[in-house]
């Protein structure tokens, strides 16, 4: 990714109190409807990202020796530097990079092929009733005007912070986080996490990556389709020049 002054979100589960102001603020800004849910024996709700839910808090309860640990982890699009969704998307402009480095989308351009979720290492994109992509877009329509993303604006504790990516990385390191999740991965995530422990405790892969098959597709199959075509055309030309056409007259001579 080649955006200078890249912006990002710094998410610190240690600071998150699980109030879900972010979840609601996002719905308010994006005018997403509330959906009918049930209590499944947990505080967490809805159970997953949906086309009406761009970010949510996952409540991870873990027994520990002393009592219990309860983690609150904000789940959303990571605005990857090397975005699998963009890589895989067949419709130009459906997924695009804003000048702040966000991966935004344009429903009008989305062709509803539902491919992007396949390319996403974080299982983020969802599709609305028309089959069009829906996910966090880093409030591209706020940040472009110098406003904070709705979630970061609402968060009371600073668990979601928005700003210059480099400055946020530095801030997290200063606060004692040796490793900032997503600092380097996938050419740097646009949502970086200050994890106290191994990422998998928070439900994230140690080394996130775009699926091998997507890379294979991108690196081999796609190029092959034009190399192949070009090759055949070139070979035909060479053949034509070198050997020329098979003419019926030759048959006559042979006879």
């Amino acid at each position: 990714m080649t955006t200078t002054n890249r912006k990002a979100l710094l998410i610190s589960p240690e600071l998150c109190i699980g109030c879900r102001g972010c979840q609601t603020a996002c719905k308010a800004w994006n005018q997403l409807p509330g959906t009918k849910t049930v209590n499944r024996g947990t505080v967490e709700n809805p159970p997953d990202l949906t086309p009406q839910l761009y970010n949510r808090i996952r409540y991870v309860e873990m027994p520990s020796e002393t009592s219990v640990r309860w983690l609150f982890v904000n789940q959303r699009c990571m605005h990857c530097g090397d975005a699998g969704c963009m890589k895989i998307c067949p419709a130009p402009g459906a997924l695009y990079r804003t000048k702040e480095g966000a991966v935004a989308f344009d429903k009008d351009k989305c062709i509803g092929c539902k491919l992007c979720v396949e390319g996403c290492p974080f299982d983020v994109p969802r599709y609305d009733e028309k089959g069009k992509i829906a996910k966090c877009h880093l409030c591209f329509d706020r940040i472009a005007y110098g406003l904070l993303p709705a979630c970061a604006k609402t968060c009371p504790t600073g668990a979601i912070r928005y700003g210059e990516r480099d400055a946020l990385v530095e801030m997290a390191k200063k606060a004692g986080y040796q490793k900032v999740y997503g600092e380097m991965d996938l050419e740097g995530l646009g949502a970086i996490y200050a994890f106290r422990d191994a990422p998998k405790i928070y439900g994230y892969a140690e080394k996130p990556g775009i699926p091998e098959s997507v890379v294979f597709w991108h690196k081999v199959l796609k190029p092959l389709s034009y190399i192949g075509l070009g090759g055949v055309v070139a070979a035909s030309l060479i053949h034509y020049v070198a050997f020329g056409p098979k003419k019926d007259e030759e048959v006559k001579k042979d006879e």
Binding site: L15, A28, K36, V38
Partner: protein, 835 residues
């Protein structure tokens, strides 16, 4: 709050006990987390591992209703290990006062203090008094060694709260107790600050007031009152609940915490004599000595020109309580249940879900002739007659529903827990036919007054003499629209005459006729000033002829870095951000902790008013008097007649020291602390001989074996009337639930997400089981005690398909705190079965 929200960031140790700010006051956690970023430690003590506990450095579980045992153990720990702040304790608290030698404590009297009368269930407080010198000042022993001094009595009283005893009462493991005690007691050093955040987890108990008192004692011992990052801080559950109590919401107080008179207090003089404390100690400010000014100015504010010296400023028109009458929530609904009321205004409330024993409340509503419900949405109260188990055909209550405007549809002030009055503006016009409350009151007032004027009636004077100068009058004499700023000005008060300080030489003009009061210092007891609420005097003032709404200020300067933001809105009293701040300095006026100086005495600077050397710098000090050790110096606790922090507190109904009693409904046959199981001074609504079955309770009964508590959730507001109609909120928290431990669930064959029935002696409801490690069984008195918890934000009326469930208040008992009558909904007994 003695301190304020932002100040929490200044603390070194934050004790969250009796509250759950992450879930119920999420914004406050901003300051808690700021403190933690600075290295502060957060302690959470709660029966359940809450979202706040998830952020804690130290979490200790504790069985509901045993806070006094827990804190009593802390007091013992502090005293045993000499961790108290000696100079503060000696100079600024009543620890050195000698108590009446007749006084006896629960250790000697089987759980009772001296003077108990079992017939009236009241104490005769004669022995709870101080020994007096001839000049009328309490006898003191600054060495704290006299066995009759408060300090020694305190020590003796809490010597019974041993770690073993406390642990077996609370169910908190001993190591955890010690860890908490050690960490919190570390704030007893002059340069350390500890703060306490509490809410309904402390107040909603039969020992609620004493829970808070116990913490006050801890804070006084550790020198944590008056300092930055200290204090004892009530987190108010509604954005404006502070404002409403300030302005006389409760049955027993008039605006500004003046007591409501009872019928026997026949005239203003008797009132003033009774409620104006006296002191002979020249060092005591004894602020309540100003009571005559405040009550008189209040009468002038509400009765205006009709209030004259000759008619006692209309004192006779003030509503009076009958002798011994209690008008608190439980009593009101008990009376309603007994058919003693004809009508009821349920204004901005939903008692069918919000109050304890809501089934009784719902039945009580059916006994009314009429009810007016004023709210944003229809709710369980307005529609009670078609609720579950109701027979609409048999209910004669005529219900009126008046739609009210929401907070963004009107202008006015709200006062938050920081005592900060902030002015808000109208964002949008009220929807449909809804009106701001003030407009509804205006209509009501006008019509009622007209009826009184026309028909006379029994006692028209209080209504017809009421001032109502809140805007332009129409041809019918009605105020067309209430100008809320005129209400604010009436609260602030006016000079009705030129006010001259005749004692000054030369006499000085304090106020000019017709001008808004500067502050309450200039209020008068002779009817020459009016003031609707003395503590708010100074909130809407006039300077150089210009009217200034102090509450609308939005200054963002913070010169001290301590977060006072003194230019932001306005805090009562006189924009003081930390009250009792004179206790933050030593008797010479030097801050205990110079790094966190709330105020400090600058002897080099000249006071611009008195032209004498020496001024206070920093926050607005508790009075301009110089430091205690100097000539004219004053004690820090200006609201106490003695000027001292009350370690011995004889004012309460249930004892001068907090003593552990069990909840009305508890899992134990006996109180491990004494023979007295429950608070001896609570009003019992039910006993076998009398009482209605609705008020029944079951303590230590196999039918209801589990301790229960109620709470709120971040996602819903109070009974949920506002938030259940909000699909975003409902999506996150859609259904009634009950949280329980893995162990209890296993015993009962309940799995996570199962539907279960929770029942108490007073009702039952269904809930989804949340089986969690965040609840753990307690080891109490050698056996296992399970606890469960439920929210009270759901109700049958909405969502309309009934998918939400019901309020936990269907289960809570009819019993209240001995002092405040706040219902005990944080500790009671239930059963849980798989549905």
């Amino acid at each position: 709050m003695t301190n304020h929200w932002v100040d929490v960031k200044n603390a070194d140790v934050i004790l969250v006990m009796g509250s759950n700010p992450a879930e119920n006051h999420p914004i406050s956690m901003k300051w808690v987390m700021r403190a933690r970023e600075r290295g502060a430690k957060l302690i959470v003590v709660d029966p359940r591992f809450t979202r706040t506990a998830a952020k804690a450095d130290l979490y200790a579980p504790m069985r509901s209703g045993t806070d006094i045992a827990f804190l009593g153990g802390m007091i013992k720990y502090i005293l045993d290990n000499n961790l108290y702040f000696k100079q503060y304790v000696v100079d600024y608290t009543n620890s050195s006062f000698l108590v009446n030698p007749e006084f006896k404590g629960p250790g000697q009297l089987n759980g009772l203090f001296s003077g108990y009368d079992p017939k009236t269930r009241k104490y005769d407080k004669k022995t709870w008094s101080f020994q007096m010198e001839e000049n009328g000042i309490p006898k003191k022993d600054p060495s704290l060694r006299n066995p009759s001094c408060v300090f020694q009595l305190l020590k003796k009283h809490y010597s019974r709260y041993t770690l073993d005893k406390v642990s077996s009462i609370t169910g908190t493991p001993k190591e955890k107790l010690e860890e908490v005690y050690k960490l919190y007691a570390s704030t007893g050093k002059p340069d350390k600050a500890g703060t306490e955040l509490y809410a309904m987890g402390w107040t909603q108990h039969t020992i609620g007031t004493q829970n808070i008192r116990a913490m006050c004692i801890v804070q006084l011992l550790l020198g944590n009152i008056g300092i930055a990052g200290g204090g004892i801080n009530a987190l108010r559950g509604e954005s404006n609940v502070q404002g409403s109590t300030d302005h006389g919401l409760l049955f027993n107080i008039l605006p500004g915490y003046n007591p409501v008179p009872s019928a026997s207090i026949v005239d203003l003089k008797t009132y003033i004599d009774k409620f104006t404390p006296k002191t002979k100690d020249p060092k005591s400010v004894n602020w309540w000595g100003n009571r005559p000014k405040y009550i008189t100015s209040y009468l002038k504010a509400i009765y205006g020109k009709a209030a004259t010296k000759d008619n006692d400023f209309g004192y006779a028109w003030l509503p009076k309580l009958d002798e011994g009458m209690n008008g608190s929530w439980l009593v009101l609904f008990d009376q309603m249940f007994k058919g003693k009321f004809e009508g009821f205004f349920a204004w901005g409330q939903n008692p069918a879900c919000s109050g304890a024993n809501a089934n009784k409340t719902r039945k009580a509503l059916a006994k009314l002739k009429w009810m007016v419900n004023i709210n944003l949405f229809d709710n369980e109260t307005a529609s009670f007659w078609k609720g579950p188990d109701m027979k609409p055909a048999e209910i004669q209550t005529e219900v009126f529903f008046l739609p009210a405007a929401s907070s963004v549809e009107k202008e006015g002030s709200i006062t938050n827990s920081s005592r900060l009055a902030q002015w808000r503006y109208k964002a949008i016009e009220p929807v449909g036919q809804s009106m701001p409350d003030s407009e509804i009151m205006n209509e009501l007032y006008f019509r009622v007054k007209k009826l009184y004027q026309k028909q006379g009636g029994k006692f028209p004077a209080p209504v017809v003499n009421l001032t109502w100068d809140y805007g332009e009058k129409g041809p019918d004499g009605k105020i067309k629209h209430v100008d809320i700023s005129l209400v604010a000005r009436e609260i602030n008060g006016y000079y009705l005459e030129d006010i001259i300080d005749k004692k000054a030489t030369p006499p000085k003009q304090l106020g000019k006729k017709g001008v808004l009061c500067t502050n309450f210092v200039t209020l008068q007891a002779d009817g020459t000033t009016s003031c609707g609420n003395w503590i708010f005097s100074g909130s809407y003032t006039q300077k150089d002829g210009k009217v200034i709404n102090m509450m609308a200020r939005r200054g963002k300067d913070d010169p001290t870095g301590l977060g006072f933001f003194s230019g932001w809105a306005w805090a009562w009293p006189v924009n003081r951000r930390i009250i009792y701040n004179r206790a933050s300095v030593d008797p010479q006026g030097r801050p205990w902790d110079p790094k966190r100086a709330v105020i400090k005495w600058n002897a080099a600077k000249e006071d611009p008013n008195t032209k004498k050397p020496g001024v206070w710098e920093g926050d607005v000090p508790d009075g301009p008097a110089p430091p205690l050790a100097m000539e004219g110096g004053k004690y820090p606790f200006i609201m106490m007649a003695t000027g001292m922090g009350a370690i011995f507190g004889p004012g309460l109904a249930d004892g001068p020291f907090p003593e552990h009693y069990e909840a009305l409904e508890c899992p134990l046959e006996e109180n491990l602390m004494s023979k007295q199981r429950i608070n001896p001074t609570i009003k019992l609504f039910y006993d076998k001989a009398s009482g209605v079955p609705e008020d029944i309770y079951f303590s230590c009964d196999v039918r209801f074996p589990y301790v229960a508590t109620t709470y709120r959730v971040s996602e819903h507001w109070q009974t949920g009337v506002l938030t259940r109609h909000q699909p975003w909120q409902l999506e996150m928290q859609p259904q009634m639930f009950v949280e329980m431990s893995e162990e209890l669930a296993k015993e009962k064959g309940i799995r996570d997400g199962d539907k279960v029935t929770v029942s108490s002696g007073r009702g039952k409801l269904w809930a989804v089981a949340i089986v969690t490690d965040r609840f753990k069984p307690f080891k109490v008195a050698g056996s296992t005690v399970h606890q469960v918890g439920m929210p009270w934000c759901f109700g049958w009326q909405y969502p309309e398909d009934g998918s939400g469930g019901e309020s936990a208040n269907l289960l809570t008992p009819t019993i209240g705190d001995a002092n405040t009558m706040i219902p005990e909904s944080k500790a009671f007994m239930v059963n849980v079965e798989k549905a």
